[in-house]
């Protein structure tokens, strides 16, 4: 207990330090960092290409004829839909929470050298576990939510642990096992959803009427009137900070990243490779499980239906982690950004656009990020060349004199 207290006091001190030493130059430096610039450029290009597609498909909703103005209207929604009103922005934040957590799940695993394709499966079992706990337990308000969320975390963690341990002991590639775990999760949850004690035949989904277990709102709806916002966004941000802290400041993070960088060197250093891999996958799974809890427990929840489809959210998590370059704090922004674009896209439907345009935008962003490091290199090279050409002209003059030949020795 004492230890945990100490841990959190340290965490608090380092967060405080962050704000006390807050220095705008440092922040400016972060934003002019090439990696960050690359991400911004990628997002811009993604939106631009989305717009070009919209131009092609834009039809005037009344006449049905091609119309550039409709495309502009759509673009305006895509760009500004998420911030048209406090309600819209509240909803963006509300929907961002699970996205941030799935992004963290993938990003955390990636930082430790693992590719977690199984966030979807971990999400699905986490969701069912949280809903089971919400429906079957009787607990006081607040505590019930906490327990249900923990149930989600535990189920996700177990789902991550299995591929982790398989990799640790039998060296089975986690990409394959996590994909298989996705299928197992899909069929398992389909069976579990229709369990009579939790199933609501009218809804054709797991019952969502569990008054004591809903995510607390804590008055946030006063800030964003009319929106669905609850404390899930705060939880997501706190967890992101915690994950950043664990990765950068703790021995566990040191150890997990070391294993991610080099299995052999960390083995040599006496780090328990097997344990590290298992722990890392467990944490990743737990994060996806928590995401599911925050997705299914709100007062206006998403419904868990018995359909045989692997939840696409795990793959969105990969996108979010990629855009945030696996940095836990950057993932807060990339998760919010995706949520923002999605909100805009859903409003675009008003003008007859298909909301799948978001998928185009997101995939272009990811492609751009993938090639931006290459583009960055090309641009740098170009710059260097130009600089050199300029220099060469200068030095040409100097070089006309015989370059000094150094022979023999200078120092004796």
């Amino acid at each position: 207990m004492e230890k945990i207290k100490q841990f959190f006091s340290k965490l608090w001190v380092s967060i405080k330090d962050f704000f006390v030493n807050f220095n705008y130059k440092k922040v400016l430096k972060i934003f002019t960092n090439t990696k960050v610039l690359n991400s911004f450029a990628a997002i811009f290009v993604g939106l631009l290409i989305g717009f070009i597609v919209m131009i092609f498909v834009a039809k005037n909703p009344f006449t049905g004829e091609w119309s550039f103005n409709t495309a502009l209207d759509g673009l305006e929604r895509l760009f500004g839909g998420g911030s048209r009103s406090l309600k819209n922005f509240g909803d963006v934040l509300f929907k961002a929470a699970p996205l941030i957590l799935v992004g963290l799940s993938v990003g955390f695993a990636f930082k430790t050298g693992l590719f977690n394709i199984g966030a979807s499966g971990q999400f699905m079992v986490g969701g069912v576990a949280a809903l089971y706990a919400a429906n079957l337990l009787t607990l006081p308000t607040g505590l019930h939510f906490v327990v249900a969320a923990l149930a989600g975390i535990a189920a996700g963690a177990i789902w991550g642990f299995v591929p982790g341990i398989l990799k640790a002991i039998y060296n089975v590639n986690e990409v394959i096992t996590t994909i298989m775990m996705n299928y197992i999760a899909m069929y398992l949850t389909v069976m579990m959803v229709t369990y009579p004690k939790v199933y609501d035949g009218g809804l054709t989904a797991i019952n969502t009427n569990f008054p004591t277990a809903h995510t607390p709102v804590l008055g946030l709806d006063k800030l964003f009137p009319g929106s669905n916002i609850d404390i899930s966004i705060i939880i997501a941000i706190l967890v992101a900070v915690l994950i950043w802290f664990v990765l950068e400041k703790t021995t566990l993070g040191y150890q997990l990243k070391a294993v991610g960088h080099s299995k052999d060197a960390s083995k040599y250093a006496g780090i328990n490779y097997k344990k590290s891999v298992a722990v890392s996958m467990m944490i990743a799974g737990g994060l996806a499980g928590l995401a599911a809890a925050l997705y299914y427990l709100p007062i206006k929840p998403a419904y868990f239906r018995p359909i045989e489809v692997i939840s696409p959210i795990g793959f969105e998590g990969i996108s979010i982690a990629l855009i945030g370059q696996s940095h836990p704090l950057a993932i807060i922004f990339s998760g919010t950004l995706i949520s923002y674009i999605k909100e805009g896209a859903s409003q675009m439907q008003l003008f007859g656009f298909n909301k799948e345009i978001t998928n185009i935008v997101i995939s272009v962003i990811i492609y751009m990020i993938a090639i931006s490091s290459y583009l960055g290199m090309v641009i740098n090279k170009r710059k260097e060349r130009k600089r050199e050409l300029a220099k060469e002209e200068e030095t040409d003059e100097e070089n006309k004199e015989e370059p000094q030949v150094k022979g023999g020795e200078i120092n004796g």
Binding site: T250, Q255, H261, A265, S266, Y268, A269, E384, E388, N399
Partner: protein, 518 residues
């Protein structure tokens, strides 16, 4: 024009560090030109500029008198410049043949054609006696063979200028002789050769001229014929270097490490790699294992340090009277072991961690570096500064330099710093001076002797007989996984050790050492 290669006024900085400061290098056709300099002097950097891996900030490069622009290794290729890197650049899971043609693949009807190149390469192999199995995978062949693959890669690309970055660091003396013969052959054909090495007698043996760098600056270029080894050393480090190690007679006390009946087989149990090994290392002595590479040294070290598990019944390893046969690596460290590994890139360093993080890679959990599982960065960086200062580890950004960006010798120094600064009373050092300059070697040898005099037990695995003769208090010669002899360096000579090393002579030893020399 006289010169094949001219590098004029080359300057290159990495952040605040000027790795090459206005350096000139001129090499004629048919000349073997050595480059000498301390660890981190900028030798690899200069060669990487010639090979197009780095772009110089300033300076000109002329090939056969013509100014050229080398922006990438492809440009270097087009100018017939080839390079064998300090750390080889081969694809481990590809075959030798695939590695050689990689990047220059021929196509036949759209398919990869390996048969035409195979003929050309086979001709090269025969002509220069560069024996390798073209169908073997890189990860299955010896380091010496890998180097021959790198050489074939250059020849296959018709290189006229051949750059060798520390080619001999990883070779056995026999392989070195072979390499030098090939290099002389190249020179006779009019090719220009640039060779980086820290071994001064090798420079004397093979080079015509030698360019000396110190801390990024050009100290001079000398004619090797007229320059003594001592003079070369002095030019390079700026002071006299003491080649012989001064040490008092060892006064060994209690046994620290004890190896009993150690047997080990290869994976499919078809070959015995270690055959009934018995020996002790005692407080206050340096025991050297001498032998030709590949005679079981690596396996022996891996079993002692726990990198590989002991599989045979009856084999016993104990440290400070504690049975560690089945102990984990960390338990061994805790029991007092330190380990300078043979492969610094694979085991010794986490290349993407910075220097400070690497200094704590096996002690990060100690109270000094963490409290309640939170790393104490103040102490960590403070500790790093201490080690950097004490061991003279040079790099561009000090404790914040990524291990990957450091020069080979400085990487090695960092490992030595870490392992000898940790609490321990037993040190296994596998080829501790590989890739170090003479000044640094002198320092490492001194450190080992100091360790010994402090009462630590030291086990050194070395391929170099000079080193063995210099620092050992007791020599064990290994051949085909067996200890062939136990010798007193004062009563033996290199020739005798050579006989045991090649298996042509065998002493009757019980291997134990309680009674000292026999």
């Amino acid at each position: 024009m006289d010169y094949a290669i001219e590098m004029l006024n080359i300057t290159k900085s990495f952040g605040p560090l000027v790795a090459n400061d206005n350096i000139d290098l001129k090499v004629k056709h048919g000349e073997i030109h050595a480059i000498l300099g301390e660890n981190g002097a900028g030798k690899s950097t200069l060669m990487s500029i010639l090979f197009g891996l780095y772009k110089a900030d300033k300076g000109t490069i002329k090939i056969n008198g013509e100014t050229v622009n080398i922006d990438s290794p492809n440009d270097a290729n087009d100018l017939n410049i080839g390079m064998v890197h300090q750390h080889f650049k081969l694809v481990e899971v590809f075959t030798v043949l695939e590695n050689i043609v990689l990047g220059l693949e021929d196509k036949k009807k759209g398919y990869l054609d390996l048969e035409t190149p195979r003929e050309k390469i086979q001709k090269l192999i025969d002509r220069y006696n560069l024996k390798v199995d073209l169908n073997a995978l890189i990860k299955d062949i010896s380091v010496g063979a890998q180097q021959r693959v790198e050489i074939l890669k250059m020849l296959y690309r018709d290189a006229e200028t051949l750059i060798f970055d520390e080619p001999t660091a990883v070779l056995t003396p026999q392989e070195i002789d072979g390499l030098f013969e090939i290099i002389r052959e190249f020179a006779k054909e009019g090719k220009s050769i640039i060779i980086i090495t820290h071994k001064l007698n090798e420079i004397k043996a093979i080079a015509d001229n030698c360019t000396i760098l110190r801390k990024g600056k050009h100290v001079g270029t000398v004619d090797v014929k007229d320059t003594s080894v001592n003079r070369l050393a002095k030019l390079m480090v700026g002071r006299d270097v003491d080649f012989s190690v001064e040490k008092a007679l060892s006064k060994p006390k209690d046994s620290v490490l004890s190896v009993k009946n150690l047997n080990y087989y290869n994976k499919d149990k078809t070959k015995k790699l270690l055959n009934n090994i018995n020996f002790d290392v005692r407080e206050g002595e340096i025991v050297c294992i001498a032998g030709i590479e590949g005679n079981g040294q690596t396996e022996l070290v891996n079993l002692i340090t726990g990198l590989d598990p002991v599989t045979e019944e009856g084999s016993l390893i104990s440290l400070n009277k504690e049975d560690i046969t089945k102990a984990s690596i960390r338990e061994r460290f805790e029991a007092g072991m330190s380990h300078i590994p043979e492969d610094r890139h694979k085991h010794g360093l986490i290349l993407d961690y910075n220097l400070a993080e690497n200094f704590i890679s096996n002690t990060y959990y100690k109270p000094k570096f963490q409290e309640h599982h939170i790393l104490n960065f103040e102490n960590i960086y403070h500790y790093a500064e201490e080690l950097i200062e004490k061991y003279d580890v040079r790099s561009s950004l000090g404790s914040k330099s990524k291990a990957r960006s450091m020069s080979g010798g400085n990487q090695q120094k960092a490992i030595i710093a870490r392992e000898t600064s940790r609490k321990h009373n037993f040190l296994v050092a596998a080829q501790p001076t590989r890739g170090l300059d003479v000044g640094a070697i002198e320092y490492v040898h001194k450190t080992l002797v100091e360790e010994r005099d402090r009462g630590n037990a030291i086990l050194v695995i070395s391929l170099e007989l000079d080193e063995v003769m210099n620092i050992a208090d007791r020599i064990l010669v290994i051949y085909e996984g067996q200890i062939m002899a136990e010798l007193d360096p004062k009563k033996t000579n290199v020739e005798e050790i050579g006989l045991y090393m090649s298996g042509s002579k065998k002493q009757k030893v019980n291997g134990g050492s309680k009674d000292g020399e026999n």
